[in-house]
């Protein structure tokens, strides 16, 4: 089986092969029929994260342009075309120069337009912390936090990066509270955000200081899953029944949580190019079957 050709069963089958793929129940698994909402159906989306367009350390990645091109081509080549792609932040490598920031954002935007499915974006701290999202909003429009509905799932994009602190902030927490007040208790919810909402490892700045407030607000909902980036390696964690899943990065891998005294960009492995880089397919199935995710490698 390769990345282009996999069946619905592969998601499930690979779940039993330790380390190859992580599969788990996602929102919707407990919600069937009418309770899942009208229009609920079988679909998939792709998570691409931490593109860091403009990154320039050849010892870590000597093929920066090629890496993104490979990832985009692999998504386009999926036999089962995803319904959409979401980029979960750090689209660009940060720069103190506002002109270069805009240039990188536009270049990345142009590159991403080669995708043959609809695309959603939101920012990471590299894109938006230094100007509180000004350049990002100028290029991409929209908002830094927003919601959308897709086939019965309520998607919530949270901004935990535009304040350098980094926080969600009282205003956004109130916005989230208002939004959730409109949802049924059995509404499947997917949260998309850049940083981990939980205190994954504050020693490496892998946290959202007030993220627990969002988790507390989400806790009454039975089916909640969070997809995020920022940590540049695959990671899975539960806060109560809420699942949090970090994807591999597109541009460079970071040392897994707590394995070194300091956060470290892992050097390029000439014997295994693109090692540690990847992206993710998330599959939402109809009729109450478990939803799963599949991790893809670049290279």
């Amino acid at each position: 089986m390769d990345d282009k050709h996999y069946s619905r069963r592969d998601f499930l089958a690979m779940a039993g092969v330790g380390g190859l793929v992580f599969a788990s129940s996602l929102p919707g698994c407990a919600s069937t029929g009418a309770s899942a909402g009208a229009g609920y159906g079988d679909f998939s989306f792709v998570q691409l994260t931490d593109i860091h367009w403009g990154y320039g350390n050849p010892k870590v990645n000597p093929d920066t342009r090629g890496t993104l091109t490979r990832a985009l081509a692999a998504v386009n080549a999926l036999e089962q075309k995803p319904d959409f792609v979401v980029f979960t932040g750090d689209l660009t490598q940060t720069t103190d120069d506002p002109k270069v920031r805009r240039q990188r954002l536009r270049e990345f935007q142009d590159m991403s337009r080669s995708l043959n499915v609809p695309v959603r974006y939101f920012a990471g701290e590299h894109d938006a912390s230094l100007d509180r999202g000004e350049a990002y909003l100028e290029v991409f429009g929209g908002a830094l936090n927003y919601t959308f509905e897709y086939k019965g799932i309520h998607f919530i994009v949270l901004d935990n990066i535009s304040d350098p602190a980094p926080i969600l902030g009282a205003k956004q927490v109130a916005w989230l509270k208002d939004d959730l007040a409109k949802q049924r208790a059995d509404q499947p919810i997917v949260v998309l955000t850049h940083r981990p909402l939980f205190a994954m490892y504050p020693q490496w700045d892998w946290a959202t200081r007030d993220g627990q407030q969002a988790i507390d607000l989400l806790m009454p909902f039975k089916n909640v899953t969070v997809f995020y980036g920022h940590v540049h390696h695959e990671h899975h964690f539960n806060t109560g029944h809420i699942q949090h899943h970090a994807s591999k990065a597109v541009m460079f891998p970071l040392s897994p949580v707590g394995t070194m005294s300091n956060k470290t960009q892992l050097p390029w492995n000439g014997a295994k190019p693109y090692d540690g880089l990847g992206w993710r397919t998330v599959r939402a199935t109809a009729s109450g079957a478990a939803q799963q995710m599949r991790e893809h490698n670049i290279g």
Binding site: T94, D96, A165, P166, I167, G169, D205, R209, D210, S261
Partner: protein, 126 residues
């Protein structure tokens, strides 16, 4: 996370953007603990000094200067964090009650080399 008090000459700080009001540290109120004051300067993109050493049980006061940005000072293993304030010295007091090597970092995103703003506290056995 338990937040420790950040003090400056003008009194208790309020910090824009950081939803933290620093609360007095019970851990700092250990009778008889030896005291040590350490000056740390945070600038883009490094702490100076890059390593500080204290003995276990020391009541440590960090005097934080942050002239060019509201850098964060975060020492998660002791539940200590504060924001530096340009033009002021922020004091943070805690008791180094366990031995080991502990990272401290800027946790306010400050620019291109933000990730390099890390340093270490070494706590040795008495």
């Amino acid at each position: 996370m338990r937040y420790l008090i950040g003090r400056c000459a003008a009194g208790v700080l309020t910090v824009a953007g950081a939803a933290a009001l620093y609360i007095n540290a019970m851990a700092a109120d250990v009778p008889g603990a030896p005291a040590q004051r350490i000056e740390i300067t945070a600038t883009k993109f490094a702490f100076e000094p890059k390593e500080i050493r204290v003995k276990k049980g020391t009541r440590v006061t960090i005097a934080l200067k942050s002239p060019d940005f509201v850098h964060g000072f975060s020492l998660p293993d002791f539940n200590v964090r504060a924001d530096g304030i340009p033009g002021k010295t922020v004091e943070i007091t805690f008791v180094a009650d366990k031995a080991g090597k502990f990272i401290y970092l800027c946790d306010n995103f400050c620019g291109e080399d933000h990730d390099k703003m890390t340093a270490f506290l070494i706590v040795t056995e008495s």
